[in-house]
Symmetry: D2
Subunit: 342 residues, 4 copies
Amino acid sequence: MNFASDNAYGASAEILAVLIKASEGAVASYGDDPITARVQERLAKIFARDLRSFPVATGTAANSLILATLCPPYGAVFCHAESHIAVDECAAPEFFSGGAKLVLLEGDGAKITPAIIEAVLPNFQRGVHSPKPSVVSITQATELGTLYTPHEIRAIADCAHKNGMMLHMDGARFANALASLECEAADITWRAGVDALSFGATKNGALCAEAAIFFDPAMAKDFEYRRKKGGHLLSKMRFISAQLDGYLEDDRWLKTARYANALAKKLSVGLLQINGAELAQKVQANEIFVWLPDASIKRLRKAGAKFYDWMPPQDGRTMIRLVTSFATPEADVAKLLEIAKS
Amino acid sequence: MNFASDNAYGASAEILAVLIKASEGAVASYGDDPITARVQERLAKIFARDLRSFPVATGTAANSLILATLCPPYGAVFCHAESHIAVDECAAPEFFSGGAKLVLLEGDGAKITPAIIEAVLPNFQRGVHSPKPSVVSITQATELGTLYTPHEIRAIADCAHKNGMMLHMDGARFANALASLECEAADITWRAGVDALSFGATKNGALCAEAAIFFDPAMAKDFEYRRKKGGHLLSKMRFISAQLDGYLEDDRWLKTARYANALAKKLSVGLLQINGAELAQKVQANEIFVWLPDASIKRLRKAGAKFYDWMPPQDGRTMIRLVTSFATPEADVAKLLEIAKS
Amino acid sequence: MNFASDNAYGASAEILAVLIKASEGAVASYGDDPITARVQERLAKIFARDLRSFPVATGTAANSLILATLCPPYGAVFCHAESHIAVDECAAPEFFSGGAKLVLLEGDGAKITPAIIEAVLPNFQRGVHSPKPSVVSITQATELGTLYTPHEIRAIADCAHKNGMMLHMDGARFANALASLECEAADITWRAGVDALSFGATKNGALCAEAAIFFDPAMAKDFEYRRKKGGHLLSKMRFISAQLDGYLEDDRWLKTARYANALAKKLSVGLLQINGAELAQKVQANEIFVWLPDASIKRLRKAGAKFYDWMPPQDGRTMIRLVTSFATPEADVAKLLEIAKS
Amino acid sequence: MNFASDNAYGASAEILAVLIKASEGAVASYGDDPITARVQERLAKIFARDLRSFPVATGTAANSLILATLCPPYGAVFCHAESHIAVDECAAPEFFSGGAKLVLLEGDGAKITPAIIEAVLPNFQRGVHSPKPSVVSITQATELGTLYTPHEIRAIADCAHKNGMMLHMDGARFANALASLECEAADITWRAGVDALSFGATKNGALCAEAAIFFDPAMAKDFEYRRKKGGHLLSKMRFISAQLDGYLEDDRWLKTARYANALAKKLSVGLLQINGAELAQKVQANEIFVWLPDASIKRLRKAGAKFYDWMPPQDGRTMIRLVTSFATPEADVAKLLEIAKS
């Protein structure tokens, strides 16, 4: 019963099969291979427009390299105070950008709004004493498992662009978001004003593969140099690309995301039957933030279930995080519910 | 007939098999898994001492993160002018170190010596106007396919340490070097004074796996933070570690290196039977730098053989580079020789 | 009537006189001159211990270079959310450190406490995902004109050191603080656990001179290289040093600070006689943060008085900042009071 | 007898007088003062075009901040192997740019040519493996006291621009160069294709003042932020600007440069009368590189004359550097000649 993270499980059998096959023969290295080209074509089709995509091995690489491309060293990135780039990447964006500032915003459900951005902006418009507002970064699905609607993203994008900033989306769980929103990929990205996307695959069945996507190809050259300089251009690039190839093939990415989302839904519904259980956040993707009675939690820990405490105990309850993934066994959900309730 | 690089081929079947197996089950992420621990144990045994090893996905990451650990922003790294860190990594060491200077040294066979280092040192001992000499970096096997003997390394290490510098070894082709020298791994590393090693696997059968090795565990903490901050800590770390695990198991890494070396030897011996052929460098590992008549080269190109011109044509001959690998078919060597000679 | 900042006025006649005199003759450049040596001696005497001091031309240089010396690229600097390093230096510390994170703390009167630090620390003790807590930085006098007592500093230092962090003090207004506290310089620095000090002179009568001071000489070498690499080592260093020489000579620095403090006191006492006037902060040095009726403010603006609004108008009052300096004419204080009251 | 450097003397009386006067009254800080504006007007007039100028306190700041503005982190700066940016600034350009590479070129008299640039360029046109050629930097007068003619600069600029690079000029001794060439300032800068200039004043009579000049105002905003972030924006900016103001007033800068140049000429002519004396470089500005008999050198050292040995002794002679400045006493030249000859 591992609900600690969607990176606790390995890779999907289908992606592994594509990876094995990709190993055959000799091809050009550093991304000049047919698989890497095919991935870009697949993504262009999925996003319904010309774009440039760059495979990398980690989400931190995708995020940081994109932010460094969009934000000068003297710039500021506006993001939620709980965002992954703010609290889980050891200040990698600051490093890759050459010292840019992350401006931490508060907002319900780990989401930000134009009003929140505009309330802070004046502090950064006093000339060179403050870094220049350059990028807004949002996470979809958010770090609290919530979602931005196309309309909300459009409003943020308009606010960003009006103020001379670009819009980045951290899509480590983009598949879960899209599967839940039931719209097109374009609707929550470029059509809503997103300039660049960290398109995640690792959490949803790949071994180590993300794609940095620019909807404006003009930004690509800068990124390519930065990726190389950051040590993130793989010589045998086909092995990252093959993961993305297998991920995108036959809508596999959406199928696995739907599976994880459905488990999360089932799990949350089940947990709410427990006396004293209460959702801390809406369950919109594959993460559950829930207050549970300490007795339930104690039983779960004793049974070896893995998950994180998210807030310290309070009045006999603790807020925990449970994450489902493409590989979480359905039986584990049933088992966890049984133990938690008993 | 692909002799362009040892990264042109995919991965070995054995390593892929270990990788597939590693995908099973849920484990702790970010390197707290049993496979990552096992790799460190294997390396400690191979190098016959306690050490700390950190898997990363690229050689540039291993080199740059180690150099940043050993060299302050105001430091200088002494290396050969043709070394990979100097000419093939888009100045990644300068980026990761925060602006350190690479001091480019000339030396036969892409090798440097204490005398070469000492000739340049006085330029960097004028106080703060010059960066502080902090690291010497050598490549084993070198970028020209030559080798450092244990004795030569010891002399460089003594020179470095005496002058307050550390010694780094870029071992992208460490296996080829070791297989050729027929000594112990320790003899050309810590026993000879090497402080840190980029231990390559990618060119010799892995998909994307190198280990950054510190023979002094005290340097490990700094490296761990830098790896994370550089976006080089994989969430599903087991997938990089599994490659190293399969690589090291049963001396597989030395077997594949011996195979590649033997092919290179065979190829070079065959080529020298051509009228006008001449080795530009001793063939000590899996790379051949050879002057061939332009007629031979033309025939090879026409037949689709892949390799790099290394020097422009001169008097009817061109210097080319041929690289063999764990996966180069023996038949390709025979075929290339036949075409080159005919 | 310029109360906008203590950098609005020029330099004191005495310091200018020392500067002129320092121009005579030929001396060694880059700090190997007798004036620079004398400044270090003066500081050692004032602080009653061996120390290393490095003149630089700006406070941002002193702060950033010290922080980069104390904090690794993967480190975190804990400071008040309103501190100069956090909001007035365009993220210079992030740049000089190579991407360190500033952790912004809230606290009354722009001051932090051990409790505030310890409340946040656990977020940064989850391994490499967060930057490593490395430095606590406090400002004396603070950006709101308040002061830390020796006892308060000691408590912060103990908290910092216990948690593996160093303590930096931004002393842009150190003279004003010391003059007000009526203790010894050592009492609010090394004796209270401060590791490094940005010792300001510019705001208190110099043209452009600060000293970066390390109470542990072992840190000096690193700093010297960083200063040079940051372009902050002046060839004709004597001209910065001479300012500090003239500043420290005959307790001049404390006299001018006392003058500015006394004017601030007088001004604040006078302002409180206005109906509706209210201090937002205690006036402990040379800055006044005061709520004044909008009618008073309107009259002052009309009369050409220069000062900053610090908070937007609220219920017919606005919070403004008034700063006095070594050169503020006493008559201006009287005049401002008269206009504000009338 | 100090001929060690043109930074060995203090400041000119006239510049000091302007500085003193600038101290009067309260003005806006951070460069929004009338003196800073006037300096830009003076420079625009001298260079006969609209431009943007930014005072800074050191030449390393001017060079590094300009290079960081013109060169991305993944770029390369082509410069002479003996240039100040390459060997005297502790790799400051690498730091400010975020890791750019300086490509060191050899050329007679510390000068480079289009042919030298073009010979190296192909090494940097292999895609992202090498940094992107972004800037050519030349020094006027060079570090060996030689000069580029307008025609030579034009040729370099054309070569740079044709290859997508910008042209920077390090003008630490720009006045000496211009005074010697007897052309207009525009002829050796923007009219010849120079994009940005480090305009030096410190070596020629100022205390600590250089101006970073962009002939294309569009680059100014980026520079302003970088200057602040680098700690190089002075709060009491008027004090740097006043130096430049006094420097440029009444052609003072050219008068002092002519004085220094004339002394250098006189000195070199005198030295050549010594048996065995030989110029190592043409004397075109205020620096002399000359081989002198060791006996002469010994007498000079004994008499307390200060200068640098530039090359180790060879066949009874040593190459030394002698530098004259605005403040070198004429009598010292006569005295040095007398001692050297006797």
